[in-house]
Amino acid sequence: MSDDLKDILSNLNKDIEQEKLLDYLNKKLSAAEAHEVEKQMADDEFMNDAVEGLEHFKNKQNLSLLVDQLNSDLKKHTAKKKKQKEKRKLKDQPWLYITILIILLLIIIGFVLIKKHLD
């Protein structure tokens, strides 16, 4: 009894996984599992608002598809910036310039030596 009483004031519930939330919205959970999700909702305003909003979607089966779409769009933004950074990094590599310079020097020296040898 006292443990149950503690639950009223405790906000220690773990975050509910996305799959479980989808099953809750599609009414696929048992009463006990639904209670667990609802306990989390009662403690967490973010989740409570989210569930209220998700319940407004006409086709809840498509929600996970929609989330995947949003995530793949997100990846384009987060990955692009990383690539740009890598490109910039490449430009900033001093060894690239040093190697080119050494190769050029070797060609010039080689050319001079060959010319001297032929003369």
Binding site: M1, S2, D4, L5, K6, D7, I8, L9, S10, N11, L12, Q18, L21, L22, A31, A32, A34, H35, E38, K39, M41, A42, E45, F46, M47, N48, D49, A50, V51, E52, G53, L54, H56, F57, K58, L63, L66, V67, L70, N71, D73, L74, K75, H77, T78, A79, K81, K82, K85
Partner: protein
């Protein structure tokens, strides 16, 4: 899949990795954890599927462009606030809602509400049982069925004459009132 690969890393750790190297990939992994919740919050306020989807994308961009400016400690609370403010601003632009948007919200990281200090004291549990009796009949019934008998909203609605929405609201208001009564009790005990 990334989601599983990084599952063991906490939000705080991902946030620290992002701050350390400004690598947006970490931020992407963190944001993905909240896509569905953000979609739900946007839908709650905007009540339109396309607008909700756009809002989530705009919130993502806002976070990608602005997170490095702030030292955020509680990412979940912070992003909830960003999304909520974004939707309220959209509604205000449309004239559907006259919201006061507080710009300070961007830089404020709100500590998640915690009342666990209460729990350690046995006395608190006695107070809690007493406080429960001070709630109105509807709230007392719903809070008891929900927390003590572990019933779901659906089961409580079936047992009582309330709709699911009413059950939800009685539980939320009951919980809030319990905290107020408990605060009053602990204030009274100290003086």
């Amino acid at each position: 899949m990334n989601k599983n690969k990084y599952q063991h890393i906490t939000d705080t750790e991902l946030l620290n990795r992002f701050y350390a190297g400004h690598d947006n990939e970490w931020l992407g992994i963190l944001l993905e954890r909240y896509t569905m919740l953000l979609l739900g919050v946007s839908m709650k306020y905007l009540k339109n599927e396309e607008e909700a989807k756009d809002a989530v994308q705009q919130v993502f961009l806002k976070v990608i462009n602005e997170l490095h400016k702030y030292k955020v400690e509680y990412f979940k609370s912070w992003i909830y606030m960003i999304a909520k403010n974004h939707c309220l601003m959209k509604l205000r632009d449309k004239g559907r809602f006259n919201a006061e948007i507080n710009d300070r919200a961007l830089s404020e990281a709100v500590e998640p509400e915690t009342t666990n200090n209460f729990i350690e004291k046995d006395k608190t549990l006695d107070n809690l049982a007493g406080a429960l009796l001070q709630l109105n009949k509807e709230q007392q019934q719903c809070v008891t069925l929900f927390y003590l008998e572990k019933k779901s909203y659906q089961e409580i609605a079936q047992q009582s004459s309330f709709s699911i929405m009413q059950v939800k609201s009685h539980i939320q208001n009951g919980k809030r009132n319990l905290k107020i009564i408990m605060d009053r009790m602990s204030g009274g005990n100290e003086s």
